[in-house]
């Protein structure tokens, strides 16, 4: 005789009769676990309506949120990485490039586009984290450089949306020099008295923070974004202690004086138009 006896049978629905929920119909907030319709979540700019958590999104999402009617002209879309060092770690870098391009549908970790924000012209270089962690290699540097030339020629303000783990190791010193290249180019944009707006999103670290991301006329952060030079794990190892709560968040960086303001993604477009108006009028 057993202590427990099963009264009801287990799952009796046969596999054939199983009802599938369509993939991606619902969105669950990774922070507060609130569940909303994915469609509503997109309308809400991928921000949780309950806890204000900002999802990591890609360039296409940013462009559709910021540009009027989601319309834009993509600039220099066809640049791809060379493999200057024939780099091989556990995988060949050349293979990694092919794989990442296929997987992400992107040519590299950044795209550039010219569009209008409530009627104000703006060129936006936007990084994509899905392409090798948004790492900065030669293509990122070159696209930013070319976009700056374009802005100077057309007299259009410039914006970079950063989302990156830092320099791309597989291009070693070539990656490092993209910090120099982009910063040097930005001096020319400054000479032309054109505004440069830097939006730092989750995450912005390493060589990206230590070059263009921190060089905006305005440095703007997204709520809760991780922003820093050294990654939190490295800092923790260095000091041998747990990090204080909120360390390296956008709010922390603002308190220490390195951001002009933090903007909720739902208000991003209006704020940008306002700022561009201030510069222009």
């Amino acid at each position: 005789m057993s202590w427990f006896q099963r009264i009801k049978g287990g799952i009796t629905t046969s596999t054939k009769e199983k009802k599938e929920t369509p993939e991606g119909l619902w969105h669950k907030c990774p922070s507060c676990k609130n569940i909303v319709l994915a469609k509503d979540h997109a309308v809400n700019c991928y921000v949780c309506e309950k806890c204000n958590y900002h999802d990591r999104i890609g360039s296409e999402d940013y462009y559709s949120i910021i540009f009027d009617e989601g319309k834009y002209l993509e600039l220099f879309p066809n640049l791809i990485s060379g493999d200057p060092l024939n780099f091989v770690d556990t995988k060949k870098y050349a293979d990694r490039i092919v794989e990442s391009r296929k997987k992400s549908g992107l040519n590299d970790a950044i795209r550039s586009a010219h569009g209008e924000v409530l009627g104000e012209d703006l060129v936006i270089c936007c990084m994509d984290f899905t392409y090798i962690g948004g790492s900065m290699g030669s293509v990122v540097g070159e696209k930013i450089a070319k976009s700056i030339d374009y802005c100077i020629e057309k007299k259009v303000p410039f914006m970079i949306i950063s989302k990156s783990g830092g320099a791309r190791m597989m291009e070693a010193a070539f990656s490092l020099m993209q910090m120099a290249k982009t910063s040097a180019k930005l001096t020319l944009l400054a000479d032309a008295k054109l505004p440069f707006i830097s939006l730092l999103t989750d995450p912005t670290t390493g060589g990206v923070t230590a070059s263009y991301a921190m060089l905006g006329d305005l440095n703007i952060g997204e709520p809760g974004a991780l922003i820093g030079f050294a990654g939190p794990r490295v800092v923790k190892e260095t000091i041998g202690k747990d990090l204080p709560k909120g360390f390296q968040t956008a709010e922390f960086v603002l308190e220490h004086g390195f951001l002009d303001f933090i903007v909720n993604r739902r208000e991003l477009k209006v704020k940008l138009a306002q700022v561009l108006g201030f510069f222009r009028n």
Partner: protein
């Protein structure tokens, strides 16, 4: 004298010479011929070892404990006229970066560089040559002063990286380095940057934007140290030799990739074997390049500098965007 593992044959020969000398003294036998032969052997072995150094061995040499550091170069090159200047005028003085005016054969030059320590105490005092934001801001303050008075800037780079500490983050390590890249790119005086030891990533680049960027023969310059690269890409510390190879971080590789402008020869066996000779060579190189750079018009100087860095990169153009799998 400290010997690295691959220098062992040299250390053994030198030991043999010492022993032979002792025996000669005791037994009063003339063995000067043997000793001469041994000395010749030392030289040959040195030449042999140093003619085929692996990238990892160069990394080891760049960190040789007897290798001269920034202040030794500056004191020698300025013939004792160096006047050190402290502080970033905002937070404090960073001991990991030194700077000040010195005279090079009558001409004023602003010297700036990371400083490492020779003893344990000194190493801590200098924070192992890892600067905080105020170090980069001190460097920038001094560069702007040099610019104001039309004096050239020479930076000596030797750092395992910018300090990844909590306070460094609070005070904006990223912003400090970024600002230096931006300001150095358009500095209206000649700038020469010389890597004299380790050139690790943003921490090195933060004082590394120059009209001429030079590397001593046994130094390295890259986006990350071979050890950290190994731990990230291979998830183990055991691949540092391999990482040193794939990173292409030696002076030869960097020049071949057009990421630096020149290499400065070191005495056989490295800078630490003949420091005085090393200082002299570096001084001559500085003078040579300064006279080249002073011949340029200032606008042209800045234009060329910006153009040089903007030409760095390896990419290709293709026809289409890939289809998603």
């Amino acid at each position: 004298m400290t010997f690295l593992d691959f220098e062992k044959p040299i250390a053994e020969l030198l030991e043999q010479i010492e022993k032979a000398k002792q025996i000669a003294e005791k037994s009063k036998i003339d063995i000067s011929a043997t000793i001469r032969e041994l000395h010749q052997k030392v030289q040959d072995t040195r030449k042999d070892i140093y003619s085929k150094l692996t990238p990892w061995q160069r990394v080891q040499l760049s960190r040789h404990p007897d290798r001269p550091y920034t202040l030794s170069y500056i004191h020698s090159i300025t013939d004792g006229t160096f006047l050190e200047m402290f502080g970033d005028r905002t937070v404090k003085d960073d001991k990991a970066i030194v700077g000040g005016f010195g005279s090079v054969d009558g001409k004023t030059v602003m010297f700036i560089g990371q400083q490492k320590g020779n003893t344990t105490k000194q190493r801590q005092y200098r924070n192992f040559g890892m600067a905080n934001p105020e170090g980069y801001r001190k460097a920038l303050r001094l560069m702007k002063m040099a610019e104001k008075f039309g004096k050239p800037v020479v930076t000596l780079i030797d750092t395992p990286g910018a300090y990844p500490g909590l306070e460094a983050e609070e005070r904006g390590q990223g912003e400090a380095i970024a600002r230096n890249l931006f300001e150095m790119a358009k500095l209206r005086v000649p700038v020469i940057c010389i890597i004299i030891g380790e050139g690790a990533s943003g921490g090195a680049l933060g004082i590394g934007i120059g009209d001429r960027v030079l590397m001593l023969e046994n130094t390295w310059y890259s986006v990350i140290s071979p050890e950290s690269c190994s731990s990230i890409l291979w998830r183990s510390w055991d691949y540092k030799e391999r990482a040193a190879e794939v990173l292409k971080l030696t002076a030869d590789d960097m020049l071949a990739n057009k990421l630096i402008d020149g290499i400065i020869k070191e005495p056989i066996g490295g800078a630490q074997t003949e420091p005085e000779e090393m200082y002299k060579t570096v001084k001559e190189e500085i003078q040579k390049y300064l006279s080249q750079l002073f011949a340029l018009d200032t606008d042209e100087l800045v234009r060329q500098r910006i153009e040089k860095f903007c030409a760095m990169g390896a990419y290709a153009e293709i026809d289409s965007v890939p289809a998603v799998d």
